[in-house]
């Protein structure tokens, strides 16, 4: 606004533009045109929510087979893959079945999670899933230290088990890279 450098010679048009505040008027015209063609880009968030992308990575969850048994075999690979040490797995034998293991305890500290999805990639039985939940603000951050029951519950409400499938009831079955057939359809 103030100054063109005094050393430079101003042409007549440049001088006219300076004294009439031409550039400022151009800017003011731009802001006024936005005021007159009022088309806000704001989304009134709690009242209206945007559709999430298909590959949205939200809250993590433990999944079940359709018969309701846990998928997790307690292999610790998610814990190894996690870059932020979110996950802690305590693995154990299934009582009475020495060939089969499961996660006795499973903790996730969601305050540290950075939603990279590497645990989901690492899981050999696809026991982990990323839900589309993102509104989980709490007053006490210890509430975000989730245990196995909570993670399973999150999985149950986001990926509800649809039906019992007989082939999945075999005790030794571990399907690798099975597509999520029971993922709910995308919202429009």
């Amino acid at each position: 606004m103030a100054s063109t450098t005094s050393t430079k010679r101003l042409s007549l048009s440049a001088w006219l533009k300076t004294i009439t505040f031409y550039e400022i008027l151009v800017g003011m015209k731009a802001t006024l045109s936005h005021l007159l063609n009022y088309r806000p880009v704001t989304l009134q968030y709690p009242h209206e929510k945007r559709t999430l992308p298909d590959n949205y990575r939200g809250m993590l969850a433990l999944l079940r087979y359709d018969d309701g048994t846990e998928k997790c075999v307690g292999c610790d690979l998610c814990e190894a893959a996690c870059p932020s040490r979110v996950i802690r797995v305590v693995s154990a034998e299934v009582p009475g079945e020495p060939t089969k293991r499961y996660s006795k305890e499973y903790y996730m500290d969601m305050t540290r999670c950075l939603f990279c999805g590497m645990c989901v990639d690492a899981c050999p039985v696809d026991a982990l899933g990323m839900t589309r939940e993102f509104e989980w603000a709490v007053y006490d951050k210890r509430q975000l230290h989730l245990n196995k029951q909570q993670l399973l519950a999150i999985g149950d409400r986001s990926f509800p088990v649809q039906e019992k499938r007989l082939e999945l009831q075999h005790p030794n079955v571990a399907f690798f890279n099975v597509a999520f057939k029971h993922v709910p359809p995308k919202p429009d």
Binding site: M1, A2, S3, I24, G27, M28, A30, T31, L32, H34, L35, Y38, R39, P40, V41, T42, Q44
Partner: protein
């Protein structure tokens, strides 16, 4: 004694009315500014409190009222407490000499009342300028007494800026004073009656267009508004001189800033834009045969002019980035000051020739 009591009652009523109008205007402005800024930036502005956010000012007021009042350790308690008041009072006091409507009188119990001006003192504009300068003390003392480097820097900047631009405000007004031949705002406004070509912005023999532009720019600078908001440059100084203030004291500074905006807009409307005079000769109310209602039209015109200027403040804020400090000083002293001085010279010569020719 009864006469004195009556006078006092009338004056206090007028003061209460004017204060009420100003405070309501300030409440409106806080909302209007956020809304207009939002609209200009493709946002919505406040939308949560009340329908379309129209109750936001009240929510803000309640919040500020109930906030904890913190006086920082090491602050000078006395000055820290008085600074917001020192800032607020000059902003409000100036409204005493602003004519809101036509210069008419009526009688109440043997006393002549002028309903649209609290007091018509013959040095009106000087009084406003003097008190506007006093407002700088509030800012400087508030900055100093906070015992914080950001506050101090903001206060110092503000002092330098207000002194620099106060000068330009004063000099740009001189042209109008030469034309009007008076310091009283009532006289100046009355002299601009009869159509917009009589407003001092356009009036022959010396249109005060340059003076008006200088006045508006300097007024923006004096009220510490964008693009001259260096005293409270949030990217450098947190919040400038009121960094350490909270709660009601902060509200006082806030109120003072907006009241100052209203005041400079009122002065600009009265001096350059004909005050309460309509942009056509006479009034529509008088034309359709209801001259006793003409004051409604006239006060409406005053409001329209003032609010247009206030809109200009928001508009500039939405458009322009903040100036650098050396740009601010150079612009004030090397550009505005010579133009203002030149305007005085030209106006004086033009008025002299005009009077000789008559």
């Amino acid at each position: 004694m009864t006469e004195f009591g009556l006078r006092l009652a009338i004056s206090l009523t007028q003061i209460a009315a004017v204060m009420g109008i100003v405070v309501i205007t300030v409440l409106l402005l806080t909302l209007a500014e956020r809304k207009v800024l939002g609209w200009m930036q493709d946002r919505m502005g406040p939308m949560e409190v009340g329908p379309y956010g129209i109750l936001q000012p009240f929510a803000d007021a309640i919040k500020l009222f109930f906030k904890e009042d913190i006086i920082p350790a090491g602050a000078n308690k006395f000055l820290f407490t008085t600074a917001p008041i020192l800032c607020l009072i000059p902003a409000f006091v100036g409204f005493a000499v602003i004519p809101w409507g036509p210069n008419q009188t009526f009688e109440v119990g043997g006393i002549t009342v002028r309903p649209f001006i609290i007091s018509d003192i013959n040095i009106g504009i000087l009084y406003i300028l003097a008190f506007a300068s006093l407002g700088a003390y509030g800012i400087i003392l508030g900055g100093w007494s906070s015992n914080s480097k950001y506050s101090l820097l903001g206060g110092l900047r503000s002092a330098a800026q207000i002194i620099s631009y106060e000068l330009n405000v004063g000099l740009s007004i001189v042209g109008v004073l030469i034309l009007g031949g008076s310091l009283s705002l009532v006289t100046i406004t009355d002299a601009q009656a009869g159509g917009f070509w009589h407003w001092y912005l356009f009036a022959l023999p010396a249109p005060q267009i340059f003076a008006f532009v200088i006045y508006v720019i300097s007024a923006v600078a004096e009220t510490n508004r964008v693009p001259f908001d260096l005293p409270e440059a949030e990217s450098e100084l947190v919040a400038g001189f009121f960094t350490e203030y909270s709660g009601l004291r902060f509200a006082f500074f806030f109120l003072a800033e907006y009241a100052n905006m209203v005041l400079v807009s009122c002065v600009a409307a009265a001096l350059f834009l004909g005050g309460w005079n309509a942009p056509y000769p006479g009034t529509i109310m008088a034309f359709i045969g209801a001259p006793s209602l003409a004051w409604i039209e006239n006060t409406m015109w005053f409001a329209v002019k003032t609010y247009s200027l206030l809109f200009l403040f928001f508009w500039l804020r939405a458009t322009l980035p903040r100036l650098r400090y050396d740009q601010l000083m150079r612009f004030g002293w090397k550009v505005l000051l010579p133009i203002a001085l030149g305007n005085i010279v030209v106006t004086a010569i033009a008025v002299f020739i005009y009077q000789q020719m008559k």
